[in-house]
Amino acid sequence: MNGVTRVLRQLGAMTINGVWRLGFATRFLLMILWYSGQSFRRLHLTIREIYFSGVLSLLIILVSGLFVGLVLGLQGYETLQRYGSSDALGVLVALSLVRELGPVVAGLLFASRAGSAVTAEIGLMKTTEQLKAMDMMAVNPIARVVAPRFWGGVLSMPLLAAMFSAMGVFGGWLIGVVFIGVDDGAFWSQMQAAVDFRNDVLNGVIKSVVFGVAVSLIAVFEGYDCVPTAEGVSRAITRTVVSSALAILALDFVLTSFMFRGQ
């Protein structure tokens, strides 16, 4: 009996905590949007954050994109040539990258590279009372610290996803056309015939924007909300990566089911 009530109590506490955090995160997002005007007036703050979350993630994104493209090229060729349609390699590589792998894998990499860094930075600022000090100096930490990092992430993410996809297509081309010898013309023309600008490319971009918002919000929220100790910060970083990954995959399912329904 005691055990049952304890389990129920834990479940209740978890639910309340979860709902509370969700509500707080929503309020936090509204506050970020509210104070964004102030941050955009000082554009160099956001530019700085684009540097930290975008430019510094560039290498990992490009290299991973290339490798994913290479693997897709090999695997895709292997499967397609059984049906004698290895000319469709370009279609396979481009569609899987532009629709799914580009936004999703770039989002996951972005969460672990830039998201965790943002959480760590804000968490550390909280731990060392820098946020409080800022607040006492009549500078709103959400406007000065959080909003620029949020927008830096939101703006970087679609660009990174596009670069990932482009790099992946290049990787697929490298394997398929240069090494295996699929016809260059067929590779590109079939790809162009099958990949639609609005349905595929634009939807991929929309996905990456949504992922960018989700990852950036989770990262700044976890940092701002963390327990201000060394342990609290490290836990917040872990939570950022885990929640971001889950959010990306769940959102990807929801968005995909809306975008490509019945086509």
């Binding site: 700085r48 540097y51 660009l159 482009a166 297509v169 015939a193 600008f197 490319v201």
Partner: protein, 157 residues
């Protein structure tokens, strides 16, 4: 600490690369260059059976992309499918053009093929293509083949 100008430069390079990647995806990977932005006119074509034709499927003439399927609906009066085709105004077709539903490759997607006739008048916005040829439905084809085979058998014996 990095100086402000270096930082701006890097961010500039980053944004330029990102935009280049987007343009690459739009132009080279996708078919943004296709019909988007071109002037269109639409004509209707009734079919007995459209098979697996989908909205936004290509419309080709002599293998060249000239338009896209804009809309497919069922006409309850004639019990036929009415397909609306958006065609590029750069290409004009005679009024007696034949519309056929074709398949690219054995398992490929279906598209509408236009075969120009000899009429001097041209198709205009809102016109209807009179002569159409339905999609080849594999089941029917197989059924016909089996039927023919069955009919042939006694003759061979």
């Amino acid at each position: 600490m990095m100086s402000r100008t270096t930082l701006d430069l890097w961010v500039g390079v980053f944004v330029a690369l990102g935009c280049a990647a987007l343009i690459f995806l739009a132009m080279k990977v996708g078919n943004f260059t296709g019909l988007n932005g071109a002037q269109l006119y639409s004509v209707e074509a009734p079919f007995d059976n459209i098979g697996g034709l989908k909205v936004r499927a290509p419309v080709k003439s002599a293998g060249v992309l000239v338009g896209r399927v804009a809309d497919i609906r069922f006409d309850a009066e004639t019990y036929r499918a009415v397909v609306r085709l958006d065609l590029d105004t750069r290409y004009a077709f005679p009024r007696d053009t034949i519309a056929t539903i074709l398949t690219s490759g054995l398992l490929g997607e279906q598209y509408v093929g236009l075969e120009p006739g000899a009429d001097v008048d041209e198709l205009k916005q809102g016109d209807r293509i009179q002569i159409t040829q339905s999609a080849v439905v594999l089941e029917k084809l197989i059924g016909q083949f089996m039927f023919n085979k069955a009919a042939e058998t006694p003759v061979q014996q």
